[in-house]
């Protein structure tokens, strides 16, 4: 049986790791960093950096695809799965919802369906290539959702907010797709 293609339509492989950003690189000290999950009722679950570091971690190796057409294969990360964060939040009484808005230092946001960050598909990553995630690539921590275009893997992430409606985030408000599946080339609003 033929091997599944690794390169989604319209992409090219790069060995670089280009840095794209919608704003200046934030420099949040770990002593001030926290990660919070909010629900639509106003309840929240929060972890400090030290608490976050005690959570079970994964080391996913994944291909990533940017809507600007570059793809990078075999990137190595270290992080906490969103599944375990959501499970912990729910056990603290947080009510989940069908959609998520990830929010970040600097004000960046991105929206995602819940189903795209559960089932082993997403992490909050603080390690890249065996070292702490550098600030220009989103450190201290970024969202990692490799099966979608990489603008969904929000840099400098500080939390997730459950939404009852799929309200668009920073780039989505300006015309990028609400979901962003590279295998269906869902780059822009209106792409099927």
């Amino acid at each position: 049986m033929a091997e599944a293609p690794r390169l989604p339509p319209g992409q090219y492989e790069t060995k670089d790791f280009p840095v794209l950003s919608a704003g200046p690189t934030p420099r949040t000290p770990l002593s001030k960093w926290d990660f919070t999950i909010h629900d639509a009722n106003g309840r929240s679950a929060r972890w400090s950096w030290d608490e976050f570091q005690t959570l079970p971690r994964d080391t996913p190796v994944v291909d990533i695809h940017c809507v600007t057409k570059w793809s990078k294969f075999g990137t190595k990360w270290e992080g906490v799965s969103v599944d375990s964060l959501l499970a912990a939040a729910v056990s603290q009484g947080i009510e989940s919802g069908p959609f998520i808005l990830a929010f970040c230092d600097g004000g960046y946001t991105t929206n995602l369906p819940l189903t795209d960050v559960t089932g082993g598909k997403a992490w909050v990553a603080f390690g890249y290539d065996g070292a702490p995630l550098p600030p220009e690539h989103g450190g201290p921590a970024r969202l990692l959702v490799p099966h979608l275009y990489f603008w969904k893997s929000a840099k400098w992430v500080r939390g997730l907010r459950f939404q009852l409606a799929d309200r668009p985030g920073f780039w989505e408000q300006l015309g990028y797709h609400d979901r962003g599946d590279p295998w269906r080339e869902q780059r822009y609003q209106g792409d099927p």
Partner: protein
């Protein structure tokens, strides 16, 4: 790493802004909703390329102007400015 993006301020957005506004825009004055600073569009700090153009206030980093061109549409978010004064 692709570092080749020569322009880092609102002068770079000059071409696309000219398309949208039919006026030279780099000298237009933008009033920032975040801090009230009034300054030329050319002095705003540019981010976001190549996904789009985000022009931020040099004082408070609020996105003053955001522009994205997708096939068939040019979207402009002006919610970061309260007033745009364009020399005419």
């Amino acid at each position: 790493m692709h570092t080749e993006k020569m322009w880092l301020d609102g002068n770079a957005a000059g071409g696309i802004l000219r398309d949208v506004f039919a006026h030279e825009m780099t000298a237009a004055l933008a009033s920032c909703v975040g801090c009230g600073t009034v300054g030329p569009v050319g002095a705003l700090l540019e981010y976001g390329q190549p996904m789009g153009i985000v022009l931020r206030c040099p004082r408070c980093d609020t996105p003053v102007l955001r522009i994205v061109r997708t096939p068939g549409f040019l979207r402009l978010d002006l919610s970061g400015l309260t007033l745009l004064t364009i020399p005419d």
